[in-house]
Amino acid sequence: MVAAAAVHAASDDSAGLAVDFQGVSHQYDLDGQPLPVLRQIDLAVAPGEFVALLGPSGCGKSTLLRLAAGLERPSSGEVLADGTIVARPDPSRVLVFQDPTLFPWRTVRDNVAIGPEARGVLAGSQKRIDDALRLVKLEAFASAFPHQLSGGMAQRAALARALVNDPRLLLLDEPLGRLDSLTRLTMQEELLALWRQAGYTVILVTHDVEEALLLSERVIVLTERPARIKAEVAVDLPYPRRRDDPRIVAQRQHILEILGFSA
């Protein structure tokens, strides 16, 4: 808790980034054939909001995150961050992948240090790196190599690597998808706690309806590829939420129906 406050002390007023997808379409080139993955996405995410993107696998959810991160430019339309066009990656908008993608040749601590090191501010960031490790409860594993970590620990290290940069927008691409169900529950609580302390904007891609409902303030349901926005569901419930809350159960039913599962 103290560590969390320290990491985010400087970001009180400007914690969250406003993200605006304006008529975003995107296509990939597959063996010379254009493969459209996103079609006319209009979505405004408020500063500090927690939004979940839900849709069938392979529908283009991850592409939306890559565009928001600035790893790619959309084929048409624009992604705006606080009103500025997103043209390149920036450490204020950090993407956490489904795989932890820790660099195997670096210790946990050196992995967390990548952001400050890449920006040439490593010397002044030692304390922040320690804070970030403490925040994800990995301080005892600072000098361990990634292959010595469990799946949940590796994903927490990846999270620390993102958080140490004091992001204003956290893009989570199914970060819990590969974890066992118990670790997953713990990590969901931790993600929520971190967000509520720090106040950054979160866009979470998931294909788990329950996860979306437990964590986010708004669920965006996408169609099959090429993805369009099919429905928006506001989740106006206080935290912490319980999965057996009748309102959650009802909304889960509702979203499953939107996705085409009638049960």
Binding site: D90, P91, L95, T101, W105, I114, E117, A118, R161
Partner: protein, 333 residues
């Protein structure tokens, strides 16, 4: 897994190596060495080889040391454990010396100019050590300059080929064409393309060691997980950072495979290059002594070469283990 097996084997040999506090293998080895000494002194040589008495003195000294160690080897720490591990080898070595003396110098069973008893080899070191040292120095100079310039150019070229599409477009076809040609095939051309034989040999050694490093570095950089670049870019990395801190460390396991290949190729080419038109050097020495039917000298030099080459390979293993320690657990060695 394999470590556990080794440990078991080690413990077994330790338990049979001792009788109470006495290192039995040490005593056996001392007796074997003494036996070799007795065989060497007791029977006359069919032809004189020289340095027989020095060899006997060394064997007796070895036997005395081994007999002494039999009662105190455990006090020597790591070195002592190494000795205990190689105890059976020390016994076999003594027996081999005795047998070797018998079939060469004593009975003359082995055809004469081609085979030499151990004290014949010792005689070479005693008589010809200056020339041998000069040859080692010449070879070391050629190998060091050739190998290191080769791997440095190969590594830098490999990174460029793996990283830059333009480099790959122009460089890869050339590398693929030239790469499979054995470096020794260039010998006739290089000896008139270069002003001196030294430069020609240098080029051959550099070529032999550089090409595998270039090919494997390029393929290593090429096969780096793309997500590593994405991660680094979202965290604010520049292209320079992506090359130096992502591509190169990720490619290092491949680079080391190339280095090992280059090391072996460099030895092969080194000796061949020295046999052609060099004035000194270990390859030259082999060639020169063979021409004079001085086979003892040839064997003496071969032993030195074996020690030097395997020493360099061992050194590269040590460097790799230092740099790629993180791979333990990721890859089965």
């Amino acid at each position: 897994m394999s470590a556990a097996v080794d440990k078991d084997a080690g413990e077994k040999s330790v338990s049979s190596a001792f009788a109470g506090p006495v290192w039995k293998h040490g005593l056996y080895a001392a007796s074997a060495w003494l036996l070799a000494a007795i065989v060497t002194v007791a029977f006359p040589d069919v032809v004189p080889w020289g340095s027989r008495d020095v060899f006997v003195a060394l064997l007796v000294a070895g036997a005395v040391v081994l007999a002494g160690l039999a009662f105190g080897v455990e006090k020597l720490g790591g070195f002592g454990r190494g000795l205990i591990h190689y105890g059976p080898w020390l016994i076999a070595l003594g027996l081999w010396f005795a047998l070797w003396e018998l079939i060469t110098a004593k009975l003359g069973w082995m055809p004469k100019p081609f085979f030499s008893p151990p004290h014949g080899l010792l005689h070479v070191y005693i008589v010809d050590w200056q020339r041998i040292l000069i040859c080692i120095a010449y070879t070391a100079r050629l190998w060091t300059i050739g190998f290191f310039s080769g791997i440095i150019v190969g590594f830098i070229g490999g990174v460029a080929l793996g990283w830059s599409k333009t480099f790959a477009y122009w460089g890869m076809p050339v590398l693929k064409l030239i790469g499979p040609v054995p470096a020794s095939a260039w010998i006739p051309a290089t000896f008139f393309l270069f002003p001196t034989t030294f430069l020609a040999s240098l080029f051959l050694v550099a070529l032999a060691s550089g090409i595998p490093v270039a090919i494997l570095t390029a393929s290593g950089v090429n096969s780096v997980n793309r997500s590593f670049y994405d991660v680094a870019r979202t965290l604010g990395a520049s292209s320079r950072y992506l090359v130096l801190r992502v591509a190169i460390p990720a490619a290092l396991p491949h680079v080391f495979v190339g280095l090992f290949m280059g090391l072996y190729y460099s030895f092969a080419v080194l000796v061949v290059a020295e046999m052609l038109g060099a004035k000194y050097g270990m390859g030259w020495y082999l060639q020169f002594q063979t021409a004079y039917s001085a086979y003892a000298n040839v064997y003496a030099m071969l032993i030195i070469m074996a020690l030097l080459c395997s020493g360099l390979v061992k050194l590269l293993f040590v460097v790799r283990d230092r740099l790629l320690g993180w791979q333990k657990g990721v890859v089965q060695w």
